[in-house]
Amino acid sequence: MQIQWPLFFWIFRPLRLLTLISSSLATAYVLLHDKPLEFFLDMNAVVFVISHSFLISLLLGQVRSESFAFLYSQGFSRDLLWRHVWLATLASVLATWVPCAVLILTPLRSHFQDWMLNPWFPLMAPTESRFLTRSLLFYGMLLPLFHYEWIRSSMPFRGRVSGHLLVIAYFVCGLFLTERLWSFSVDLARTSMFLGFIAISAILGLFGYWLHKRLEIGA
């Protein structure tokens, strides 16, 4: 894939402040959190990923603004623009999580916590790499959903709120099923639920791409 750097920096521009804040918060949290990091059991991390994903897609989904309209009127193909929207998304996620990964994997975090006389470390440190993979998996589930939501809400036809309703339904179902299945500890059911949500996200990602190709600018 050919990267057009001026285009990338243009699209990334609204994410700069968000990325700086999210990166600082995540790094500080990973370094200072005194309990072993377990992604889905740590609600702070879950809320952080949801908020970060939501804000990324919100900032990149302002296609009704003058500056986005300007970008879309410059002659770039819709495919190229969509690829660079995702590239900017990826850049924001990586800029947030690569420092965390370095802290966990080097293992600077483990040494720091050990130095702080935390009894869990370095004993629990090897299990924390899962925190990274699970958080990134969660981003992978949420970002197509949120990108779809904002593209959908920018479409001129009726039912533009359906994107927002879909997101609410997704989260209500997710919370309900998670609560039920976790309490029963059924591995097969958990895996099925995960796969189901990943499939939904993938489908919404494709729909988002399809809608973006038909997105009207300046309507």
Partner: protein
């Protein structure tokens, strides 16, 4: 105009917003190297037409094509089109250099030397931020980016908004140069009709979302006149030789803006009787777009058919 020479074509192009028809059955053709002026009152659909041509809006009906390819969904190489459209501007913190860089990464023919020199001539540094530029400088920056991009079609909505007279003339010179040297086609929407008269090859007047006039400007100069006809002139006499665009009754004559179909026939019909004078594009524009003044009943009877001519 040959088919291969056609740059832009619209066929029955229609667009509505929430049921309100803004543009209706617009059929136009623009050839390579032409400068087409789009005229019309505010809200008549000029900007909508430009967005449809630029592949930013979807037609409700009909089709717009660039070089034979449909504009929606955008399938042509859109880098061949440079647009300056209403309500679209870069973020306030953007530098002029970044705007040029953005354009250069979509346009392989972008001429950095031309862009830099045109900016410098107007005291615009490429390091300047967008918010620090004056209205005219902002407009000039966008125009420079469009012209330096090497695009084959320029779609310019109110391009001279905020520009002083000298800069306007410089722009027209550049557009004419691009047209003559590279065959660049320009579609310009403007309210400054005197300027349009200076630069345009073809003129389109839109009224109520429809094309009221599409004609080469040169042809209009030869064919459209304000005439004074004998008061008792019957419309059945006028219609074979001319289209009445607007008319009013003076005390002793019928004064009409008409477009002659046959000047020869008119001179035969009214030997020595027609007093005619050329009309400016501004007068013609007003004749096409202004609603006719209400007439007294007796006058309305005589003129009823003229509107339908």
């Amino acid at each position: 105009m040959t088919e291969s020479n056609t740059v832009m074509e619209t066929v029955d192009l229609t667009r509505d917003f929430g049921g309100k028809v803004v543009l209706e059955d617009v059929s136009l053709t623009v050839g390579s190297g032409e400068i087409l002026a789009l005229l019309g009152p505010n809200g008549v659909g000029k900007s909508t037409l430009m967005k449809l041509i630029s592949g930013l809006l979807m037609p409700s009906r009909g089709e717009a094509k660039l070089w034979g390819e449909s504009c929606w969904p955008p399938s042509v190489e859109m880098y061949r089109v440079a647009c300056i459209l209403d309500g679209m501007s870069p973020p306030s913190g953007t530098r002029v250099r970044e705007i040029m860089s953005l354009k250069s990464c979509v346009s392989p023919r972008f001429d950095w030397k031309l862009a830099t020199s045109l900016c410098e001539q107007h005291q615009i540094s490429t390091a300047s931020r967008w918010r620090t530029l004056s209205k005219g400088q902002k407009r000039w920056t966008l125009l420079v980016a469009a012209i330096a991009s090497g695009a084959d079609l320029l779609v310019l909505d109110e391009p001279v908004d905020g520009l002083d007279v000298a800069t306007r003339l410089e722009l027209y010179g550049l557009l004419r140069e691009q047209s003559n040297d590279r065959g660049v086609t320009s579609i310009i929407a403007s309210h400054i009709i005197a300027d349009v008269e200076r630069i345009a090859d073809d003129v389109v007047i839109l009224a109520n979302g429809r094309v009221r006039l599409h004609s080469p400007l040169e042809q209009l100069r030869d064919e459209v006149f304000e005439v004074e006809l004998p008061l008792e002139t019957d419309d059945s006499v006028i219609s074979p030789m001319a289209e009445v665009i607007s008319s009013r009754r003076a005390s002793d004559a019928l004064i009409a803006v008409i477009r002659f179909r046959s000047l020869h026939l008119a001179e035969q019909e009214f030997p020595g009787e027609i007093s005619r004078r050329r009309v400016s594009l501004e007068d013609l524009y007003l004749a096409y777009t202004q609603p006719q003044q209400p007439q007294a009943p007796a006058e309305q009877q005589g003129l009823a058919n003229e509107r339908s001519l």
